[in-house]
Symmetry: C2
Subunit: 424 residues, 2 copies
Amino acid sequence: MMRDEAIGLGKRMAGMDIRSRGFTERTQLETAVNSLLSGVEPLPHESVASALSCHRTLASPLLAPRNVPSFARSAMDGFALSAICITGASESSPAILRVVGESLAGHPPNFTVRPGGAARIMTGAALPAGTNAVVPIEACRQLGSTVEIHEAVVPGRHVCAVGEDFKQGQIVLNAGRRLLPHDLAVLSALSLRDVSVIRQPRVLILVTGDEILPAFSEPAADRICDANSPMLQALIQRDGGQVTAVAIVPDNPSDLCAALAANHSADLILISGGSSVGQEDHAPAVLSKMGTLDVHGLALRPASPAGFGRLNNGTRVMLLPGNPVSCFCAYELLAGRLVRRLAGRHDSLPHTVKHYPLAQDVKSVQRRTDFMRIRIVNGMVETIPGGASMLSTVAMADGFILISHDSAGCSSGDLVAVYLFENA
Amino acid sequence: MMRDEAIGLGKRMAGMDIRSRGFTERTQLETAVNSLLSGVEPLPHESVASALSCHRTLASPLLAPRNVPSFARSAMDGFALSAICITGASESSPAILRVVGESLAGHPPNFTVRPGGAARIMTGAALPAGTNAVVPIEACRQLGSTVEIHEAVVPGRHVCAVGEDFKQGQIVLNAGRRLLPHDLAVLSALSLRDVSVIRQPRVLILVTGDEILPAFSEPAADRICDANSPMLQALIQRDGGQVTAVAIVPDNPSDLCAALAANHSADLILISGGSSVGQEDHAPAVLSKMGTLDVHGLALRPASPAGFGRLNNGTRVMLLPGNPVSCFCAYELLAGRLVRRLAGRHDSLPHTVKHYPLAQDVKSVQRRTDFMRIRIVNGMVETIPGGASMLSTVAMADGFILISHDSAGCSSGDLVAVYLFENA
């Protein structure tokens, strides 16, 4: 039986060209990214409550449905009047007007100011009919039912005119804008209860492996907690996606097939683990069977066993290595770009990039991209050694550097681009 | 009656030293920030589910409660064996071992490998008793119940040793760390269901003004929608705080007193509007009455009517101008720092800063800080004209610049620090 098993394994190895592809030929990162994003458009739009729209991507240009302000209002506390009534007024030669009423914010004035009259007015209050300017309180002296005006003003002075901030019909924000906190103020000022945004990509996470316990669970002999899905969930949320479910799938093709087939609503499925070319790595074969495996095996360290393709129903599937650092690398350099593209965001890396000199020589090999965890120590970049299973190498890192496929390494003192974790 | 009212107003103006302070003396921004943050410590810690801890601030150093890995496991698919059994093995002179079993991930091996034996092993599987190294499958050739081993290895080769990633008791993450997506992987790998983090500051938002309609509501004559609270909520969330409630409060002291008194759980109360020195600006006087008004009136454009203090029960209160641009400015330069400090974050501005040359001369006055909305056009900084009520000036901005109180302006071509909105 052991012989049969060995022969069986050999058959499987020989019969699956994807396995040999994974080993004999590795796709360059740039080629893989181009293939992954080729023809990918942002998802369709949906309407969401403006109050919940922060960080969402505007699906179409935002037009002002009305003028803001919708009424002429005072920008100051003072007196509203007709500018022509106080032509030439000054401190030495004040104009004297009758005070005929008061306009307070939120209390529409129901009187008209005739020539020779003025109205007390507060910031934000509507200008009474018959007035076109405001003189600030500091330049006025009220004496009972009259007021001395100590400076002349031009019509419109200290008045927020109708449509001064936003004119009905104007484009206020462009399509594709990721809504910022202050944009919510704009939406509210325009009385827009809802806003049309790009739908959030729905992502299903399948974590494969008989040894995998649910995230954060109690330890058990010879088994490990799912570290990847909590990380992926937080990254997907960062990138504007929405995780619809996380499922742990045993190491066998039929369970994985069933998990993939069961899903009909995901825009993207991430499979963590089982992506390589070993006996228990079923994901590439299953994806080949249920759709297409477009790329498998990358010239990328430490995420060479990554791959991607589509199910026959069109759903995109990304194969992420099970080792947490490899999984992180493959998400950041590949899957995350896809999530952002689907969410209508720019697909470039979201990290703040700063340049620092290397504290040491860094070796790589040509025709492979290296994702290296680094620390900034005394303003210089130190790489953190350790394998793809070592989460500690990420936990202690300030960010990462990428050694391009056309470089065999860098020298101490070279300025390198550091992708910082802090603000990503 | 008009006379009485006018006299009454005069009395109020004369009687309130805070009003004259607001006008005659304005606190420098830096002085105000120092006063605002003086003695402010991060809030106490609380325990939260690790799954929900992303972006929270670690309250104490995170110690590894156990070794990770907790068992020696294979880093490769191959054969587990005792390294000493294959000393000198090579392709031309392979060692031949008996295959005595198989170790799969998640299926603990219940056998012992004696000298001269080997076990098939998969990545992630536990090393059987009696083995201390793994030879990758590529360097092995299984023939029925025996296996040819084509390379020698040292003990520990391709084995993730117990505690190799995290050693029980070691500090894994430092206190004060803002938890990143990949830190959640660390928490899960350590089987930490909960984590101790700084409590989120609870913020109450009071929006004052008889003219204020609820955010995003239908327009009504002479009234305006609350634009500030949706913006403040998004900013507070960005800064690690939590908005407990938003209330719209009419323009009178008793309602404002009641709204302030009703709150017992907020760490911070933001009052939007009514912060200046006009007839309807009740917030400074109410705060003075119910506690202390520490600073009122800033040498800051466009947020000079801002102020802050504390209620007698110790709750911090921030007075933000009602004009949305002023409110935004006062939040970003003052209140936001306080929220971040309370949340255990760094209180510096969270924006990405880049330097660009000015496209034009920019005028300011000495002894006043100017917060100017700007656009980047052809790699140069253009300021956006428009008053504090003009939300459009923020909506079209890429960020802002600050003209310091010790500068009377900058010249075209000067390199200035731009605080970019994009990644804040």
